[in-house]
Subunit: 503 residues, 2 copies
């Protein structure tokens, strides 16, 4: 039996050993999910909503236990994890509420119109149905909100799709505890066990087998570009291809104007420093590339950020592989000449997985000719590109790939409309004069963006709209009342939200 | 210069020769589309709406000319094409109206909520933006409604996405005329020429180059499983993968109960005969597989359908390749033993591309062990599976892949709920006691289904919702009014439909 060892990032010491799943296990879990998908209990939306609320309550009740294990395995601070466990619980409740109101159904009723030309319209009633079992790949950097019971799992379960989750091997104790909570709730809610299965694996082979299982109808993933793309390729090559909803991070470019620097340089520096060090720089929305004006105001900002980051505490990264990858990438950045460190760089600590925050100034020349300058650095690293005109910024933006966010700091007198337009072409979220790091869980949220920020720019992985990734519409034409799903019947006993478009 | 020859399916005689596009042409068209995408003129929704209305008017004005050429090249009857040209025109107007009202934007405004926990909510305003240039592959069987100015083109243009269309080589004169109309309208509307480009090619290489062009951000396709899957594989393997919205047809299973046969056998037979012969059986919604009860009522239906189809006129198929493929597939069906013709089969005519309608009874044994029995026959062919119990039908349905439609003919006393549930798992549209062939263009429509009916079960290729395939959401966080798109500003000068979800 293979095992995975948990390590404390602050010391590097082993803090637990966990049995892993094999290829046969994930195939079996997928089969159980397909069976659970057919059960009338899980098909009942009110019962599913109660089940989600139950998990939400249980997570909240066991918050301190979850936070303690999770902090030990990830090095993330207790306060941050306290917010994250609350968010995890809230988003489960949010989906429960959505399902109870039937808002996920997007129900539309158009009664017959015999006079419509060129063809009369029959009675048409459309609503969403779940697509089937979903494979979820938990994130390393959001061990709770995008972990075993995170946004992908919550939205898939809410949609009516059983979930097989592959927990992240960097926090196996956290994953196991959350999986135990989920399994208890499945049993308590009287649902078939296959509604939720947890697998742990460090081998890509096992994850690949999960994405290939014929019963799996979609994949939710949060992680690296390499991992997301590999899953996407596997899913596209299946005899029956399935969608992969992969959120793969980005550079999150920030444009700062000279006028903004003159009016609030200190605020901007504070926000950037907070953003770069928060969660050790391991948010997918960390601003990784700043566009700072040439000249003295810009020089001062660069110096302030560099000085204060150098004085900041070293940050523990999530795992040894994260540290190894980041250290190698930083060496490549400096040795390629694409980036020059501002001030002396501190070598990584020997104890645990600590690294020191650092600032690099990007060289001249076209951005896309400097691959190291347009790569995501997962850790407390920020790259700065100096610019001398709006046209130069526009030229740079035109060479960037898809991003989760774009941010502009400007003053009312600045004409940044062309910059905003150019950034909007490439991002899922445009942020003004504030931090892009926090991604609130609301109806209006959009978290995703053109590839490689995500594989599905039309979808979001955060917020209530995330549920629509796991649904598909079915229209019922000329159906007798008795053969319609309850939500589409005239009596609408559960008072589901419906639309009548009548066009 | 390579050319494509048009043939009259009723005689097989050549009726026109047309220059084709090469790989360089489609690449150039994609580049022009990318330039047009950046133009402020095309970005203006009111102007786009006027442009769509202009095309709609022009198509209607030149209807008789279009119909005449199209009927000669496709063998489709004038009356059917009259309806199709009207539908083509109407759907252009429908999208114009939608865009004018801003319904495609799905605009949501949530103002700031500083008291929200665990994190305060900033001002969030979300709307859809166009994804970029779209490649459209025109259908052979819907030369107008899914041709050069059909649903894919109309929805992409309405979304704000320039279109490069590869017209179908089976009706090159129709395609050229429609392309001329479109180009005239582009010029008249004062839009850049790259908004619409027409290419004609018979080589797959050219279509592949179009799907691979880096400027192309999505593909709309209506056609065969082989063609759609090939494009889907190409698009998934790109350095930047893009979505392919391919509608690839299906068997469209129909379940008929014994009680339904007893109460209205004649009506059912009439509908089936009409469905199988309409447009020479070349609708993607043609019922291709009937489940008919064992016993005398079922025997009588099979005999009636077979007798009347044998007496029906031979049907001209769209092109010689369609005839060659259908004839070979029918031979394979009979020789494999998966299907037995009812009555004597008439050999295909020597003149033109005519074939005679035919009925085959499917053999015993599991459906998925008889590949010829679960294949789409594109032409006036229907397969019949006899059943002796609901369980047998359920077993058969469980072995079917994704379908565009499922149909049930039943009487109020029949318990067909399990059949409806099973069919719903596999279809995009459930039809009751009527023909599935007509697909009305409305808000409530859903045309698509699980693979292989389509590559994107969450989307529709018919109806107003088809526009959402070519849009993606962007959220604006804490944006000053002056930097917001007009549709998200407080003043809402164009009175765009908006939602305030405030959660």
């Amino acid at each position: 039996m293979k095992t995975v060892t948990a390590f404390d990032p602050r010391s590097g010491a082993a803090c637990g050993e966990f049995a892993t799943s094999g290829v046969d296990d994930v195939r079996e879990a997928a089969r159980a999910a397909a069976q659970a998908f057919e059960s009338t209990e899980f098909g009942d939306t009110l019962r599913r909503a109660r089940f989600l609320d139950l998990i939400a309550d249980r997570v909240r009740q066991r918050a301190s236990e979850i936070i303690e294990i999770c902090s030990r395995e990830t090095g993330l601070p207790l306060q941050r994890l306290t917010v994250e466990v609350e968010r995890t619980s809230r988003q489960l409740s949010m989906f429960a509420e959505m399902v109870r109101a039937g808002r996920h159904l997007d129900a539309v009723i158009d009664t017959a119109d015999p006079d419509l030309t060129p063809v009369p319209r029959p009675d048409m009633r459309r609503m969403n149905v779940p697509i089937g079992p979903v494979a979820v790949f938990g994130a390393s950097n959001m061990p709770l909100a995008f972990g075993v019971l995170g946004g992908d799992t919550a939205s898939a379960l809410a949609a009516g799709c059983p979930v097989v989750i592959k927990g992240h091997p960097a926090h196996p104790g956290t994953g196991r505890l959350l999986a135990v909570i989920a399994a208890e709730c499945v049993a308590e809610a009287g649902l078939p066990a296959g509604v939720f299965s947890y697998c742990l694996a460090a081998d890509f082979e096992v994850g690949a087998a999960l994405a290939q299982a014929p019963e799996i109808t979609a994949v939710g993933f949060t992680g690296s570009l390499g991992g997301g793309r590999a899953l996407s390729d596997i899913a596209a090559a299946r005899p029956v291809p399935i969608p992969v909803y992969a959120e793969m991070g980005s550079l999150n470019p920030v444009v700062i104007t000279e006028a903004a620097l003159r009016s609030r340089s200190t605020d901007i520096a504070d926000t950037i420093i907070g953003n770069v060090t928060a969660a050790s720089g391991q948010y997918c929305t960390k601003p990784g590339l700043l566009f700072v004006p040439a000249g003295t105001a810009g020089d001062a900002l660069v110096q302030t950020v560099a000085d204060r980051l150098r004085q900041a505490q070293p940050c523990p990264l999530l795992s040894e592989p994260v540290k190894v990858r980041l250290t190698a990438a930083m060496e490549q950045l400096a040795s390629s000449g694409d980036g020059t460190p501002v001030g002396e760089s501190t070598p990584p600590s020997d104890v645990g997985y600590f690294v020191s925050p650092a600032v690099y100034v990007v060289g001249d020349g076209p951005l896309d000719a400097m691959p190291s300058a347009i790569e995501e650095y997962f850790g407390p690293i920020v790259l700065i590109r100096r610019y001398d005109s709006t046209d130069a910024v526009l030229e740079d933006i035109s060479r960037l790939a898809g991003q989760l966010t774009g941010t502009v700091y400007s003053d009312p007198g600045d004409d940044v409309s062309r910059i905003v337009t150019a950034l909007c072409r490439r991002v899922g979220r445009m942020v003004f004069d504030s931090s892009p790091v926090s991604v609130v869980v609301t109806d209006a949220q959009q978290h995703g963006g053109p590839y490689p920020a995500s594989t599905a720019a039309w979808s979001t992985s955060v917020g209530s709209q995330a549920i629509f990734r796991f649904l598909r519409p079915v229209v019922f034409q000329n159906a007798p009342q008795g053969l319609l799903p309850a939500a589409l019947r005239d009596d609408n006993r559960r008072s589901v939200e419906r639309h009548r478009n009548s066009r």
